[in-house]
């Protein structure tokens, strides 16, 4: 009978094959890609839309994309932004986002961008847990 314990054990056996960190890295670089690699299409699509939506809304609100760190808060913001993977590097290359926040909503936009990165890290770790069989 397919009990949750059996499912986790079967997933754990499958997890022995291949490079186990691939979903983690893919999920970090492209939101939802880790779940897509594991054929979790629905979860991947929802994660992708949520994280992309939050990042794009942050940019649309003229949020700041951190490029350097002058103090501890900047370091934390930069760490959060880096969680978005290619979205962060793409926005830096294309010059999206502002350097100085000038509107009230831009401050919200900055938080949206940082939180999108943090949520992407959570999603990538979830993909890794699925891959290793820690989560069914």
């Amino acid at each position: 009978m397919a009990t949750p314990e059996n499912k986790i054990a079967a997933a754990g056996q499958q997890a022995q094959e291949g490079f186990v960190y691939l979903p983690l890295i893919a999920g970090w670089l492209v939101p939802g890609a880790g779940h897509f690699l594991l054929r979790k299409w629905g979860r991947g699509a929802l994660l992708s839309v949520s994280i992309l939506g939050m990042f794009v809304l942050g940019l649309a609100m003229q949020g700041k994309v951190y490029s350097n760190a002058h103090d501890i808060l900047d370091i934390l913001g930069l760490a959060g932004d880096l969680g978005s993977g290619l979205l962060y590097f793409g926005s830096r290359i294309l010059g999206l986002g502002v350097d100085q926040v000038q509107l009230t909503t831009a401050d919200y936009g900055t938080r949206f961008i940082v939180v999108a990165g943090l949520l992407n890290v959570i999603a990538a770790v979830d993909a890794h847990n699925l891959r290793t069989g820690r989560k069914a």
Partner: protein, 56 residues
């Protein structure tokens, strides 16, 4: 975009990610996501009223 719309969108996206990543079965994901959404928006409304009343 109004402040409330920003709060609702933030709560929606964060709740979806929390629901998917913190629970294992689809039914529990939906329930946990809805729970997080209500807590996000509810706490924002309660804190907004508190700040409004304190400022008066």
């Amino acid at each position: 975009m109004t402040h409330f719309a920003a709060v609702v969108l933030f709560a929606l996206f964060a709740s979806i990610v929390f629901g998917i990543t913190q629970r294992e079965t689809p039914q529990r994901m939906i329930r946990y996501g809805a729970y997080c959404f209500v807590l996000f928006v509810g706490s924002a409304i309660v804190l907004s009223w508190l700040m409004f009343l304190i400022a008066r």
